[in-house]
């Protein structure tokens, strides 16, 4: 019976999701990128080119059958580097979101549940401080104060990302808190923690996951921008933003060095945005 | 023919939703003569609003699908009207008071502005150009007509600043400034408390009385209908089950559904399924074959499971769609 119900629900969700062909496109793109990232060693035509590799004889080759996206100035296959670059883009997104979300959510739950107390005030004012300038500015500022590495860039983005979840969950939890089942739980003497995590949190999960999917694109976008400025991943790490940044110096002569990584950045972000929108449409109706 | 203001014949309207096609209107027949006031009653979700929206061709297509039937308005088939003709018809002939006055008023425009626009375009349809002053004057007049205190202030208010009763009156005012021939009132005052609803209905009655306008009044407040209309249609699950003069219907309901409905009174607020009728309104996705009331009908006969009953005239314009009163 239960599995029947779940099957029915899954069917219904899939219908709502697949109603928009763009969502399917997003799903396909995202799944392919994840698979390529995981199996980069096998998929990439020249996996050894990903990091340190010098072959000046084959440098600056335009796209050919041998090197579908050409080679860079050190003779490395651009496509192989892009495939490995997916790893770093995904790593950035996954780690930023998985680190920023839990504290953001917990603070939001707490502030929402304790609405109009000093806890609420403190948490939300602090979140306001982080949201008082555009995320890009704050990320740049934080990054510029740290040593420029991929991990510090992640740190900088994480630092400014959590308040978005706090704000989202705050709104949800402060309205859920007035529901009867919460009051019932309170009457039966459940602890605050168990109310937060056991009662309120499950009701916030689907907006949180939707936002996370939609945020993947943003994180990658900001991350690649940081790399572009030189505050993110460092060569020879095959980071897409860094590849665009370094390759852009050789436009228009060797346009492929930066153009292909740029296209793939666009593709990743596009894929996640489409997927996220599809998920949102799917979950919105329920 | 010219006597008939509206003549709906065998109207089928379906809606396309996720689960499939809902067959909502299932051969609706409906007539209203000039100057006549007709009530339309039935449970929530039985297709009353869909029926009247069809008259003005207001249904969103898709999801709505007009499967078949004709709607004659002053002799012209509404379903075949061009965009232009439709607009003229809406400006001059028919107007509607929507079910929910909160939703029907644009929240971001002042009341005067909204009424003004309607005056402007309906006058335009009559071939008159009106000045701003004219519009303002007419607006104030109509607000006075619906017994709004301080019309100047009301004009400059946003809907949100008004009470429910006031908003309902604004909706009536809006309908009044537009059309002259037919007024459709979709459950006016349903969300108001009883005394205000009563006031609103009485006001509406007086106003149409003065103007000699035809009225279709949708309601599930049976008492309200009783005092206001000449004739009543009873609707169940997408088709008309009974039509009669008001007194006849109330004194002598024939259709098993009508009977059950009256037994369920007094019940002034709408919403749920009236008590006293067993079962629930059918699923429009796979409605019962034949008479749609058959699963709930204590008198269901084999024939009822086969074909939907047509209207049988039992005299004096009292029609009923039930095999108890006709057929083989």
């Amino acid at each position: 019976m239960n599995t029947e119900l779940m099957k029915e629900r899954a069917k219904r969700n899939w219908y709502k999701f697949s109603k928009n062909p763009l969502s399917i496109v997003g799903l396909v793109v995202v799944v392919s990128i994840i698979l390529i990232a995981i199996f980069a060693d096998f998929v990439a035509p020249y996996p050894q080119h990903a990091f340190v590799f010098v072959d000046f004889k084959n440098a600056k080759s335009p796209p050919t059958l041998r090197n579908l996206a050409g080679t860079d100035l050190a003779g490395r296959d651009v496509l192989s580097r892009i495939f490995f670059g997916f790893r770093y883009s995904l790593l950035m997104a996954v780690s930023v979101l998985s680190v920023a979300t839990p504290p953001g959510v917990i603070l939001g739950l707490l502030a929402g549940y304790m609405r109009d107390t000093w806890v609420d005030t403190v948490i939300m004012r602090v979140a306001d401080v982080f949201l008082s300038v555009p995320s890009m500015v704050l990320a740049l500022a934080v990054c510029s104060m740290l040593e420029p590495t991929l991990y510090n860039a992640m740190l900088a983005i994480t630092v400014m990302w959590w308040p978005w979840y706090t704000r989202l969950v705050y709104g949800l939890s402060s309205s859920i808190k007035n529901e009867y089942f919460i009051q019932a739980a309170e009457v039966t003497g459940a602890s605050t923690l168990s109310i937060l995590l056991g009662e309120i949190l499950p009701n916030c999960l689907s907006p949180i996951f939707t936002k996370m999917t939609l945020d993947v694109g943003w994180v990658i976008l900001i991350g690649s921008t940081l790399s572009f400025v030189g505050l993110g991943a460092q060569p020879p790490t095959p980071d897409l933003g860094t590849m665009v940044s370094d390759g852009s110096k050789y436009i228009p002569s060797q346009w492929w060095i930066s153009l292909f990584p740029a296209l793939f950045i666009v593709l990743i972000i596009l894929g996640f945005n489409l997927l996220g929108d599809g998920l949102r449409d799917m979950l919105a109706g329920d | 023919m010219s006597d008939e203001l509206v003549d709906i014949r065998d109207l089928h309207v379906h809606f396309s939703i996720y689960e499939g096609i809902t067959k909502v209107l299932n051969g609706v027949n409906f007539r209203i003569a000039r100057g006549e006031k007709v009530g339309l009653i039935g449970e929530a979700g039985c297709g009353k609003t869909t029926t009247v929206k069809s008259i003005m061709k207001l249904l969103q297509i898709p999801p709505a699908i007009i499967e078949g039937g004709e709607i004659f308005l002053e002799g012209d088939d509404v379903l075949k009207m061009s965009q232009q003709e439709l607009q003229m018809m809406r400006r001059k002939t028919v107007s509607m008071i929507f079910q929910d006055p909160i939703a029907a008023l644009n929240p971001v425009f002042k009341v005067g502005d909204q009424i003004g626009d309607i005056i402007k375009f309906s006058q335009l349809a009559l071939g008159e150009k009106v000045t701003k002053e004219d519009i303002k004057e007419r607006t104030i007049n109509v607000l006075k007509e619906v017994q709004m205190p301080d019309p100047e202030r009301i004009m400059n208010s946003y809907p949100i600043q008004l009470s429910g009763g006031m908003r309902q009156r604004i909706c009536i005012a809006m309908a009044l400034v537009s059309a002259t021939n037919l007024l459709i009132a979709d459950e006016p005052g349903t969300n108001l408390d009883v005394t205000i609803q009563d006031q609103v209905l009485r006001l509406l009655g007086d106003l149409v009385e003065d103007r000699g306008t035809s009225v279709i009044l949708i309601s599930h407040a049976l008492g309200a209908v009783k005092g206001l209309v000449d004739r009543v249609y009873v609707m169940y699950a997408g088709s008309m089950v009974e039509a009669a003069k008001t007194e006849d219907l109330f004194s002598d309901p024939l259709h098993p559904y009508t009977k059950a409905l009256f037994n369920a009174v007094p019940k002034l607020t709408g919403g749920g399924i009236p008590e006293g009728i067993s079962g629930r309104i059918p699923n429009y996705l796979s409605p019962p074959q034949g008479c749609r009331f058959n699963p709930r009908c204590p008198h269901a006969m084999p024939q009822c499971l086969e074909d939907a009953p047509p209207f049988f005239d039992v005299g004096e314009g009292h029609e009923v769609a039930c095999y108890l009163y006709g057929g083989n």
């Binding site: 010098v54 000046f56 440098a59 030189g230 110096k249 436009i251 228009p252 002569s253 | -």
Partner: protein, 552 residues
Amino acid sequence: MYVGIVIAIVIIAAGYWWMTQPTEPEPDPDPEPEPIFYRSTWAWPTRIDPAVGSDGSSLAAIPNLYNSLVRITPEGVVGPELAEGWDVTNGGLTYTFELREGVMSHSGNEITAEDVVFSMDRLLTMGEGLAYLFLPYIDETTAVDTYTVQFDLLKNFGPILTVMPNFFVLDEETVMENLGEGEYGDLGDYGKEWLMTNDAGTGPYTVKEFLLEEKLIMEKFEYWGETLDIEGFKFVENAPDIMEMIGTTEPITVRTMMARQELERTDSWQPIENLEEMVETEGVEMIGEVGTSLLNLMMHTRKAPTDDVHFRKAIAYAFDYETVVTEIFPHTTMVKGVVNEVLPGYDPSLEPYRMNLDKAMEELQQSEYYDQLEDIEIEIHWCAEVPAEERVSLLFMANMAELGISVKIVKEPWLSMIETMADQELSPNVVVVYNSVHFPEVGGDVMRYHSESAPTWEQNEWLLDETLDAMIEEALETVDQMDRFEKYSEIQQYIYDLCPTVYVLQTTTLRGIQDYVDYPYVEYGEQVSGFVYSVPLGFRTFYGLYTGINAP
């Protein structure tokens, strides 16, 4: 949509209003000829205060706005500029300069000895920019009379005259009129804020507009070289009326502007590929200037494992110099010793390090780290602003891999690199850096090995070697040139044995220039190969005086 309409209406209305305005100035019957532009891009910031500016673009701008007492002539020797002549007395401790009469500043004040004293005092008091060249040596500056100025030295400094072109004279009156609030007592901010965007000089050009973070616009000035009719200080034909120094090095932008002839000359940071492409497709000429700078891999001699001389030598022998000058930096040359071969005092007797893996292994085996190679990782930092350095680092990595040494590459923005290199702990094993000379002699290069330079970007080696310090100090104090060069040779040998640095190449500064520009180096320099010119050391481009622009 409304906003768009409003904007459109505003534009139309404004246009209408403008059209209907009475045209006040009648069309000039004798229209002025279109000004001749000389526009070039530069890496910023450009600081035009002679007491503040010290980097490339600043030193390109300042000589056009100000004059020095002496200059390096096109023939490569010290010649007169504001000073007509000079005397050295007191065993090389007193220098007396006779000033030209009638030199007017841009504000119309005559330049006298007082102005020179003021300028030197200002430079030394502020202690920024190029002051470091004079601070250790100049004791006192005095105005002997209106046109005579005397410098007393603290100690002997042999090459002082070759350094003097780096001292620029300001018009005291103009500066004093524009003092702001600041930390110098009566002198306020010493005119610092004003001089950041204005000039108080006598040069052939004057600041027309200084758009911070965008560009410096200079316009031709009625130059004293013209009024006094002095040969060598007059404008050439078609000297640019307006010079713009544009603060960008973004390759795509530079390329675009060159293609559209909106730029006369590129900066020197353009990738070689880009320049070659421009030559091929846009009729741009590539010019190269054999520089005095070296591209160095500076090895930290006080950090494991590069603290071991054999380890350093192994690196020096394992590096592929050949590939650098052929593949990565075409048009450059290999270093034949420890300094640039064009520098006076260069010792040609040293056998330069070249790639030789056998020797490298030999050295490596002698090093104390030989048996722990697996645990070793060398960190190499390269400057983010110079993309080609990445390839040097990659090559280094590949070369070291052949010795079994693993390398970590770090890209670092220049300014943060300076920071890193200021700290002995933070300084990495190897840094890829361009080193330029302070003055055109071997001493001007090797002085970076002095301990005083250790905490700066000029030295990542952290030699902190007292013997070497003493040798450098002694050489610089030697007034006689022959003796001095002798001492330079010893220093070179000493450094050679320490092997603190992998000398990657001798730079050739490559720029693109429009073919309608007459570039002075052709005339004054010596053509080395197809397009590379060697220029007298210390020679500076006074644009209007050497560079003519033919109509594009």
